[in-house]
């Protein structure tokens, strides 16, 4: 029918068609069908598909290699985004604040386990008794021996636990709150505030935890420079006694408090710290150095995040068809 048979084949077919009515009818049907198909109307396109100047720009890779490259790029970009995000989350970036502690203080207390010692809380009454002064809420009782012996061995000091805004029950559910004991702001000595006295009278279930700071945690007083620091998180479930024991010889461990009080140690928030140290001297309450934020690393990770996002956007563009003609 289409002229694609050889001459012998054609003769054979013609001979058969002369004898077989069914095959002859079928051939006639096929020819009729072919003729009708050839007469099917062709529609004119509604517009021209001529390309415009925008088609000259670089476009996505095509073919198998382009598909593989697109897939690999997309997966790599997604993994990079996830990795950077996990890195930022695991660092606990939002829970850290900037340390403005004096270098001398940070250096002096580099080995002092102040945060852990500060986890050992006392109930308000005990704290007040230990310090002999009405501390502000969330104040940590610091025995006299916890401070530098040269300057105030017999003077009680109250280390303000600055960030303890969270109530006991609320903070207990947050491991960070329980683990970050001392965001201590120890500016110039200040008089106890009335709020502190009121806080001391609160029931333990409602009042924020008060933490006693042992002696070993108190590094030699720095020269009066205020220090706003965030302590490194520590495990909330660990008992406070061993931590206090780690404070070294001579550490004055405050009265042991129930674990719920330890867990109630609120999460630091430097901006809301209103408290002062009640030390008689003008020394600054020493604090443990927080883990410093590695600014170059943070900047690098942010740059990596931006690059990954850009790569993702570019790969998404690859997946999409190119722009329509102008």
């Amino acid at each position: 029918m289409d002229g694609h048979t050889s001459l012998p084949e054609q003769r054979t077919v013609e001979a058969h068609l002369g004898e077989c009515d069914a095959c002859r009818a079928e051939l006639a049907d096929l020819r009729n069908l072919k003729r009708m198909l050839a007469q099917l109307p062709q529609r004119q396109p509604s517009r021209s598909f001529a390309l415009g100047p925008r088609s000259m720009r670089p476009v996505a890779l095509s073919g198998t290699f382009g598909g593989v490259l697109r897939a690999v790029t997309s997966v790599a970009a997604s993994l990079a985004v996830v990795a950077v995000g996990l890195s930022l989350v695991l660092q606990g970036l939002p829970r850290q604040s900037v340390s403005i502690a004096a270098p001398s203080t940070a250096a002096a207390s580099a080995t002092a386990p102040l945060p852990r010692a500060a986890l050992a809380p006392g109930n308000p009454a005990a704290s007040a008794a230990a310090t002999g002064a009405a501390a502000s809420p969330f104040a940590a009782a610091i025995p006299a021996s916890s401070l530098a012996p040269a300057r105030g061995a017999a003077k009680p000091a109250v280390a303000a636990n600055p960030a303890g805004n969270a109530p006991t029950t609320g903070a207990a559910s947050s491991p960070f709150a329980a683990a970050s004991p001392a965001s201590s702001l120890a500016p110039a000595p200040a008089a106890p505030t009335p709020a502190a006295a009121a806080a001391a009278a609160r029931p333990a279930a409602q009042a924020p935890a008060l933490a006693g700071v042992p002696a070993s945690s108190a590094s030699p007083p720095a020269g009066g420079a205020p220090a706003i620091t965030l302590a490194k998180p520590a495990a909330a479930s660990a008992p406070s006694a061993p931590r206090s024991a780690n404070n070294g010889p001579g550490a004055a461990t405050p009265p042991e408090a129930p674990s719920s009080h330890r867990a109630a140690q609120p999460r630091p928030a430097a901006g809301s710290v209103p408290v002062s140290a009640a030390s008689a001297s003008s020394t600054v309450q020493p604090t443990a150095p927080p883990p410093p934020i590695n600014v170059p690393r943070l900047a690098g990770e942010l740059l990596l995040l931006l690059a990954a996002l850009g790569l993702t956007a570019y790969s998404i563009r690859w997946w999409r068809p190119s722009a329509r003609k102008s």
Binding site: L33, K34, R43, Q44, A50, S55
Partner: protein, 186 residues
């Protein structure tokens, strides 16, 4: 259809970066490409498939090694159509159009011999063919390509073209049914 010599002149110019020459090729072949795409993927997606075909052709014009430009272009078009059909299979809920036959209200004058009912029956039957058979019928019986050009466009050998065409025609006869013999053949 235009001689391939004319196409070769224009394709050489297009390979040298002449966009105007390529657009002349587009104007020559866009009706064929559009109608193949329209019957392969449907009315709604035909414009996209056709446009993507010419985009892809322009991007890869330097890889054209001579021969029938129409066959090379229809190979790109068939690949575009297969891609769209695969995407549609992956997302079966995305129905672009129903199975209504495509009836051209303004057919080209030289192809206005069939009446509307016959055209509708044929279009409906073609739409029910498997994609490979449909493409084979469209290229050879509807667009008039010879077997070699169709084999180039479909990227198969000649024997495959013959077998697909034979099965497609037989299937069309089944789909058209006994009314087939009463249809006018022009």
């Amino acid at each position: 259809m235009l001689a391939s010599d004319d196409d070769s002149h224009l394709t050489a110019a297009a390979q040298a970066g002449d966009l105007a020459a390529f657009n002349q090729l587009v104007e020559r072949h866009q009706t064929t490409v559009y109608n193949v795409c329209r019957r392969m993927v449907g009315e709604a997606a035909a414009d996209d498939a056709t446009q993507e075909t010419f985009f892809a052709a322009y991007r890869s014009i330097k890889t054209f090694r001579g021969g029938a430009f129409r066959g090379w272009l229809l190979r790109i078009a068939s690949n575009q159509c297969y891609d769209q059909l695969r995407q549609r299979q992956r997302r079966p809920t995305e129905v672009l159009e129903d199975d209504a036959p495509i009836i051209d209200p303004n057919p080209l004058p030289e192809r206005a011999a069939l009446n509307a009912e016959t055209v509708a029956s044929l279009e409906r039957a073609i739409a029910q063919l498997p994609p490979e058979q449909r493409l084979c019928v469209l290229l050879i019986d509807v667009q008039g390509l010879d077997y070699d050009e169709a084999a180039q466009a479909m990227e198969v050998n000649l024997g495959t073209v013959k077998s697909r065409l034979s099965r497609a025609r037989a299937r069309l006869r089944e789909l058209l049914g006994p009314e087939f013999r009463r249809m006018d053949g022009g």
